[in-house]
Amino acid sequence: MNPGSGKNGVELIGVGKLYGSTQAVRGVSLAVREGEFLSVVGPSGCGKTTMLRMIAGFIEPDAGDVLIGGVSMKGVPVRGRRVGIVFQNYALFPNMTVRENVAFGMKVQKRPQLQIEETVASLLAMVNMADRADSYPRQLSGGQQQRVALVRALAIEPRVLLLDEPLSALDAKVRNTLRFEIKRIQRDSGITMIYVTHDQEEALSISDRVALMRGGSLEQVGTPAELYSSPASEFAADFIGVNNILRGVYEGGGKFAWNGRFFTVETPAEAERNPGARAILTIRPERLVPAEAEYDGPNALEGRVAGRIFLGPLTRVALAVDSPDGETLLLDLLNAAGESAQMGDLLKVRFAPSDAHLLF
């Protein structure tokens, strides 16, 4: 079955958008299932917001097509798409109270007054804003405004909810609670959500799937776990989470050469086709574990502690490895081990072959 179908699914087919001579979005094809929570992440200028605005109908694509519920949106204006939108700056109507803001979409649709009142009341209760129904937006905090903006978009029973960096203007504490509130609403209502953010950690924590964009194209689409543990490219390995990126040569037979050292790695069968090729080995900081001094198994490294950052539950240590290029590796140590590692200490670490990820 076509994953983008279903009456509230979204499908992009070879969608492109040109701004002057800049290709903001190039040939993006992506299917979002009905009821799915998909995040679009990428650095600023990667085209994620342009893509979202094409789904909403604010921008017409130059190439390709946007389908909602399996129907082409070509020539369908914004107001005919029944797509809910949440912006970074809340965009509540300043001249209306919270209640009027939430009721606006239903009033425009000429729903019966009683139904409007009931829906507004239950939506406001859902985000704990019932007692602020008669407040004006300027009397609310940023987090409260975004809660209202969220249910205002839900009030029109949209087929898809598009969120464009909805939490970026809020401070860290509010951002974290609201993040999970959005997730809860999505799970309870089963609404399709497309969530644009530059914050990869945010995307990993709440999404069913994550689409990583770079330079207008999709770099990788997958579950948060897939993106984290099996990045498809060096860009993905670097952008998602923290990573150690080792540039070396794949020697064949599961051997990776780096700075005169050899590591044993797990490789896909097709890797054997090009022994001697330049390759990249990525290892997450938490996959580097301390080894006893007498350890002489594979994949051991020795270096001096060149820096340490206390992160609460763990300590991130920068390890200067003895190599011609003077490379530094990051490793995360749970606190007991982390506290004992002092600057300048000699430390031996190792990693399991299955914990490193090889890229060509």
Binding site: A56, R79, G84, A91, F93, N95, T97, G105, A153, I156
Partner: protein
């Protein structure tokens, strides 16, 4: 303590500088005679009676209110549309052209504008000079920046383009969006622009003196002539002018407040 006394006296000085002439005019308008004395002598209401009896003055007042009112209405409509377009188009070049156009009427002295208008609209067999329509045109240009500026600041402050996108996405038509969202949120700008524009048009002298004819004179023009009649009469005319202006401004701001109040209550 000293600093406070200093600033208080500065403020007092400022107010007396602005208000003293008006107070003197008020006193003078009720005085029978005001000749080589500090204050006028005798009490009379005669100057006011005369003022309302002379058709030239009442007609000029009506003309002034007419031109000022039309200036506010036309400039308001033009400015809302222009500011909306410039904001939504969001082009740096258009914005630069807009800013330049707004500077022109301020940079060009009214005398120059008036002379230019006489040259430009005075052809053989067809002349606009002396008509109120030409004065209206002159006032429209002259006051336009003072209507546009507060509106531009207003529409930028509310970040209109996002609000418009939001309203459209909620299913509203562009017309509903403009009526229910744009206008109510633009009212503060409209009111302050209208107050400014009305006051400027009502009191404008240089353009009016050059462009109007005997049938289309505005109040500031006849007011100037009143000083040749008699001091008391001129004072009464001035007081009438100030009162009209104040009443109109208070009225306008009350009107604006009641409208925005209505919008806030939610229609």
């Amino acid at each position: 303590m000293l600093r406070r006394a200093f600033s208080v006296s500065l403020i007092l000085l400022y107010f007396s500088f602005i208000l003293a002439p008006i107070v003197l005019m008020l006193i003078g308008s009720f005085g029978e005679k005001w000749f080589s004395t500090l204050l006028p002598t005798g009490f009379t209401l005669d100057w006011y009676v005369q003022l309302f009896r002379k058709a030239m003055y009442t007609r000029a007042m009506v003309m002034s209110l007419w031109v000022a009112g039309l200036t506010v209405l036309i400039n308001g409509a033009v400015s809302v549309l222009t500011v909306y377009a410039v904001h939504v188009l969001d082009s740096r070049r258009i914005r630069a052209a807009f800013d330049f156009c707004l500077l022109l009427p301020i940079a060009i002295p009214p005398v120059v504008m008036g002379l230019g208008m006489i040259q430009a609209y005075n052809w053989k067999g067809f002349s606009l000079v002396g008509t109120w329509q030409l004065l209206l045109g002159a006032h429209l240009v002259y006051t336009l920046p003072f209507m546009m500026r507060p509106l531009m600041a207003n529409i930028e402050m509310i970040r209109w383009s996002t609000l418009e996108e939001m309203s459209l996405s909620l299913g509203a038509s562009l017309w509903t969006t403009i009526r229910r969202v744009l206008i109510p949120n633009l009212l503060p700008g409209i009111v302050s622009g209208a107050l400014m524009t009305f006051a400027m048009s009502l009191g404008e002298f240089q353009l009016a003196v050059m462009v109007t004819g005997s049938k289309t004179q505005t109040f500031p023009v006849v007011l100037y002539q009143a000083f040749y009649v008699s001091t008391g009469f001129a004072c009464a005319a001035t007081v009438l002018m100030v009162l009209t202006s104040l009443l109109a401004l208070v009225g306008l701001s009350l009107l604006g407040r009641s409208f925005s109040g209505e919008a806030v209550m939610g229609s």
